[in-house]
Structures are given as C-alpha cells and as structure tokens.
Amino acid sequence: MSDSTMSDNPGTDNPILTLDNVIKSFGPVTVIKGVTVNVYPGKVQVLLGENGAGKSTLIKMMAGVYQPDGGRILVDGKEVRLPDTNASEALGIATIHQELNLVGSMTVAENITMGRIPRRFGLVDRKKMREVAREALAMIGLDIDVDHKVAELGIARQQLVEIAKALSLDARMLILDEPTAALTKREIAALFSVVEDLRERGVGMVFISHHLDEIAAIGDSVSVLRDGEFVAEVPADTHEDELVRLMVGRSIEQQFPRRREYDGPDATLLEVNGLSTKGTINNVSFTVKAGEIVGLAGLVGAGRTEVIRAIAGVDPYASGSVRVRGKELPKSSIGAAIRAGVGHVPEDRKAHGLVLGAPVNENIGYATLSTTAKSGLVDRAGQRKRAEDVADKLRIRMHNLDQVVGSLSGGNQQKTVFARWIVANSSVLLLDEPTRGVDVGAKVEIYELMNAITAAGGAVVMVSSELPEVLGMSDRVLVMSGGHISGELNADDATQDAVMSLAVRDVQRDLEDKLMEDGHE
C-alpha cells in the first residue's frame, strides 16, 4: 500500500488536484514560496513540515479559504479559481479540520444532512434524513445510531461522522488536518482502516500529522516543506531520521537531551500530600526536588491533569495539602500559587493558555502585570523589556512583540506560555502535555528549556501521553492509574513496559468496561 508515487512517476491516474508553483503572501511576509503538490485518486499525499512551514496555508488554498498570489490551482488538469470553500466543495474537495465542523447539540443525521436537509411538503423529512445519514455512515463502515446527539459521541467518532458527511456530499478528495492529534491508539487504528477503505474507493487524500510513525503506516508519498519552500518529495516509507533531516534542514542528534546540571543544595520544592478530589483523584502524594523533572505518566483519564490543576489552584480539592518550599498553599487560589512560584502550562494552550487575539508582549506579561505595577499602573517599559529579553532567550519566532499570538506557529505559541512563567521567576513548573502539537525542532527547544529551568534550581512536573518523552526527559516517573499513583520508577528502571503495566494495573477491568460502553452506542 505504501509504494511510492513519485512526482516523476504519476502512474496511470491523473491528479485530482494540483497546486502548481503557488505563492502566498500576507502583507510583506511571503509564507508560501512556490510549492507544487499533486493529489492522486486513491493515494494519500502527506504534507510534512514544522509548524510555520506552510502546511496549513497550503491546505487552505486547496479548500478555497486563501487564494494564491501566484501559481495555479488545477483540478482534473483544468485551471480553476477557488474564491471560497463553496467553490472547492462543489469540485469535491472536503477538509476535515482539527476543530470539527459539527453542531454538538444536533443529531448525527442532522449533522450529516446539514445544509441540505431533506424536505417533504416544506417540512423536515426525518425518514429520508436518517436514510441519507445511514448510507453515509455505511460508506465508512461506521455503525452508530443516527439519532444520537453528536456531542455525546467521542472525538474519534465525531471525526468519522464528519468524514461520512463529506463523502455523502460526493467528496473525492479529503484533506485530513492532523486527524490523529486527539485520538487514542485504538481510535487511530480505526481511522486508518477507514482511510484504507477510502483509498480503495479512489478518494484522494491529503494527510497532515506530527507523528512520523503514522506516515509510513498510512501515506503513499510525502511532500516536505520548510519555511514555505518545497524541499523534496519522497516515498512514505523513507526512514524517520531522513524525514526529520529534510524537515528541519539538519539532523537532530538527540531527541531527548535530558541533562541534570543542578548542583545546588538539596531542597524539596513541591510537596503534595494526600491530595484527593471528589470523584477523580484519590490520595496522591509525591515530592519534587530542586533540579528535578518528575514525569506523570498514565492513561488519559487517570487523573494526571486533575492533579496538576489542583496544585496550580485552578480546581478545588477535598482533602490533602500542597506545599511549595515548605509553605502550604491555600486551596484553589491561582494567585497564591503563582506568588509561591508555581507556573502552569495547561494542556490546551489555545483554550487555556493564551489570549490568542492579544499580542505576544501582553501574553508574556499577564502573570507579572500586578506584581511589577506601581500603584496600580502597568510598568509598560519594564514589561516590554522583560518580554523582549525572554522572547529572545527562548527564540520565539515572530515579526515583533506586538504580533498577535494566534498567528504564531504552535511551537512558538507554547514558548510564549513558557515565557510568561520564566518572566514570573516561577520555580515550580507544572507542564501538561508541553509538546502537544509542537514540531520536532521546537520540541527539542522546549526540552532544552526544561533543562535550563532545572539547572537553575527549578522543579518540573511533566504530564505527557507520549511515553518516549516521559522516559526520555524524566528523572523519576510517577505512574497514575484510576486517580491514584500506582507506582514510581527511577529513570533507569522506567521502560515502556514497566510504565504501561503500572498504568493499567487497577483500571484494566474498568477500562475495558468503558471501551465496551463506548463501542456500544
């Protein structure tokens, strides 16, 4: 399946869509500098590049959201203009966005027929609507009740509903924008089997993912982009190291460059004792010392994020205590936690970490606005200077400090959240999935940042669902399972198997019940 479709060997089929040497600028900045991509029927064309390389701009041109400033778009060999998304949809091009375009409060059937709800005597023809929806779901072998509210489905199923919707609109080309980002292993496998089916039906697909291992599993050919330029087109079974080299323009020596360089006094910075909340977490105790990175591993739903949020003062807890440098923090007071030196990098940086419409400068300064203020007035010059220094130090790539943070790439957005706590001199950093949606190059920069924080005597707690990251960067690994800590492993003893067996120790049965339930519907 993953035999290559090189650009010089298009095979017998003609491409559904071709971006021919397209160029796109925003104001003075050229973000796409002459890129050519072909999408063939029954093939999966992978777009690979770091955040900011231009992948999203390319797919937005395919979808008609942006129009190229130069070059041509061809569909079935004919030059077309795609002034808006309706134009691309009319040509059978559909995009499955990371943020799904479904109305949660409406049913599966209503969502699939949205915009063309079958009518009878001017009223909704529910029978016909269900039929259309069932047919669409059958195309991808998805068996769910079409009268279910979409919000009640898991994210994976919602995604499949969206794909079914696109197919029932006669889409022959699907753009899958990081479809696996929010899915579990099992859900990814289900998605990939749908992709296999679509391949056989002759649907052409564009696939974006930050997970290199998925490329060989699902792709046919890979277009590599760097800084808006086309770098190479290679077969999907190209070795991962080579893909990384093409993508970042250099080879990355060490994916997880953990170094312990702190040689100051042995001090316990964070002490969590018997932390319990109503429902999720149960009697969690651990300590973190200066200079240490403690990984918090476990399955999704094990309570890791809840522990982090309780320590940071975001959510209340029922019993237990949190001490920073020996001093007990009051319950659910974010302000007190920040003053004690706690910095929290939340899981979802767009929803919880950043004010996307505000400039980088402001986003870096939120936690220090009041502490640096004199009689209620903002220390504007000082705030700016500090933001400038830290942005420089963390190498946040931007035009200037006044650029809105929402227009930065994922890695640079994440660095902005980090910058806020560096400016605030936080010594206990709680990182929740710190490299999610961040590209390879920026990942390593974030790891180096964690090294620097601990070298300076800081303590880091890192929640991550990526085991290699937990194993590669943690000095100690705490494994959570069913709301409590099921085991602790030293860096030397921590292996994937050891962590996983602790992670599922108590919840295996629960989990299987749950999965059964999920699969039921």
């Binding site: 104001g27 400033d69 919880h352 004010v355 996307l356 505000a358 504007r380 809105v404 806020r420």
Partner: protein, 327 residues
C-alpha cells in the same frame, strides 16, 4: 509565465505605508472626515463655531455613556442598563438635593455613587451570580428605570446648582465638552496604563487563559460594570444639568446609541478589542449624521433609517477587514 492574477490581488494594497495602515485601522475616523467634508460642501451651516459646539454638547452624553460601556465590551460583556442608570443617577442626585435638602456637592457625588452602585450590582450578578451580562443588565435596565419613576413619582425634579453647572458654560467652552474630554482621557488612561485595564482586555480575549495566568477575573468583571455605572451616572448628571431638572423618562434608549458608538468605533462584541478613541469617533459619527441630516431638513424618521444603515456598514467593513488577515 505562472503569474496568474487571482482574486487575492487587491490585498497587496494593504501593508505598505504607515499612513495607509493608520487609515485602515481607523476606518471610522476616515468615515467621520468624509462625512464632515460632505456636509461642509452640502451646507454652509455645518462648519460654524456654534454648530460644532452644538455637536460637542450633543455628543457628550452619548460619548460618556459609551466610554463606560467600552470597559464592559472590551471585557466581553454588554451593559444594556446604561440609559436607565443615567436616569436613576440624575434623579437620585436631584432628589438628594431637593427632597433630602443636602448640599449640592453631595448631590453631585451622590449621583455618581448611585451610578457606580447600580453598575456594581450588575457586576456582582455577572461575576458571582453567573448571570449572562445581557440578562443581568436587562434586569438592571428595568429596575433602574422603575426606581427612577418611584423616586420621582413620575415628575421632574430640579437639579443642584453644582449639577446644573455641568450643563453650563466655562467661558466660551460648554462644560459638557470639557467633561467629555476629561472622561475620555480618564477612560483611556484606565484601559491603557492600569493593571486593571490590561486585565479587561485579557478577560475579554480569553477568560479561562486569563484566570489561569492569575488574573482575578471576577474582580475585573465587577470593576468593568462599576465603571460603566459610574460613567452612566456622569452622563445622567450632564443630561439633567443641561435641562436643570432630572426627567423620569430621560435617556430612554440611549444604551443602543452607546452600543452603536462603541461598535462603530471598532470594538468587538466578542471582547478583547476596543479603544476609547474609537468609541469617541463612533459617538461623533452618530451625532454628526443626526446634526447634518437636521441641517439638510431630513425628517427624523429617515434619520433613524440612515443611522441603522451606518451601523451595519461600519461594522460590516470592520469585520471584512479583519477576515482578510491571517487567522
């Protein structure tokens, strides 16, 4: 060979010079100048000293209301009660002076305090009662108007001389214009230079991210509504000072003019965006249109139609402009 012109070509006009950028960012100001120029050509009565002072006086009440409302809208809320709160503040002030027989300066401060207090009540309902601001202030709109009628028993009450002074002149300059300028400077100062002001933008831009960064979100919400009430109180005193009496039906519907001024000025009802200078321009646009149409003898019925179109066009242009930027 492959330089095919596309639909996106006009976008290149953007960027470029500093002046071009300024104009693109201040569409309402450009509109105001165009409007002024058109009226200058259309009628000799427009660009005269007395008429311009008249515009300033007419703009003062709407602009002061709209300044207060800008805080709320920046923080992603809405305040429908400002017209009623203005009336209640004016009436309360007049009552303190006439019925309560208190000194005039107490009546003046009392009026402002009533406004601030009304706003604070809305603010607490939003921040701690978790009411949507639309609902909380819709309730306050009714409550404040009702209280105004209760206090006045439906009759006008004479204002304190200190309040009437606000409606008078200082030399050749009408006091309302001075109050307008001072209120605008204070509001702009709060938004741009105080910690609380920057917090308002953060809360309006993303409440949860602001909270997780240590921003005291509820305190910010109470503050914006209190400020909105305070500014509404000031607007009420301006209005009653001009008439030398507080009217029970004063400022009915003014909240809609104030909202219009804020959005014409470029603020987003989704929060996080808005400037006092924009709001001032928005208020002036509304008043200049009314003034101009009056000078041109256009009926007040048609004026309402025109104002409606202006609001739609102004906000429409603004959102088109925003859509053409990446993300």
């Amino acid at each position: 060979m492959n330089k095919v012109a596309t639909a996106a070509a006009p976008k290149k006009a953007r960027g470029g010079s500093r002046i071009g950028r300024f104009l693109a960012d201040n569409g309402a100001l450009v509109g105001l100048f165009v409007l002024g120029l058109a009226l200058f050509i259309a009628t000799p009565d427009f660009l005269t000293g007395p008429n311009l002072l008249n515009i300033g006086i007419q703009a003062s009440v709407i602009a002061v209301l709209a300044f207060g409302l800008t805080f709320v809208i920046v923080a992603a809320g809405i305040d429908l009660s400002v017209g009623s709160v203005a009336a209640l503040s004016a009436m309360g002030s007049a009552w303190i002076f006439s019925e309560g027989s208190m000194p005039g300066w107490i009546a003046l401060i009392g009026g402002l305090a009533i406004g601030a207090l009304s706003g604070a009540v809305s603010g607490f309902a939003v921040a701690y009662g978790r009411l949507p601001s639309f609902i909380a202030t819709l309730a306050m709109l009714s409550i404040a108007r009702g209280l105004t009628l209760v206090i006045s028993e439906g009759r006008p009450i004479g204002t304190a001389p200190e309040v009437s002074f606000l409606g008078g002149d200082l030399g050749v300059i009408p006091m309302p214009i001075i109050v307008l300028v001072v209120a605008g400077l204070v509001a702009a100062f709060i938004l741009n230079f105080t910690v609380m002001g920057r917090y308002m933008y953060a809360v309006g831009g993303n409440k949860e991210a602001a909270r997780l960064s240590g921003v005291p979100v509820r305190k910010v919400l109470v503050t914006v509504f209190t400020l909105s009430g305070l500014f509404a109180g000031l607007a009420g005193l301006l209005l009653s000072g001009r008439l030398d009496s507080a009217q029970p039906q004063a400022a009915v519907g003014y909240e809609l003019d104030a909202i219009a001024a804020v959005v014409i000025g470029g603020a987003s009802l989704a929060g996080g965006i808005g400037r006092i200078s924009g709001t001032l321009v928005g208020a002036l646009v509304l008043v200049v249109i009314r003034n101009g149409l009056n000078l041109l003898n256009v009926s007040s019925f048609w004026q309402q139609v025109v104002i409606g179109l202006v609001i739609a066009v102004a906000v429409g242009i603004d959102s088109l402009r925003r859509k053409n930027q990446p993300h």
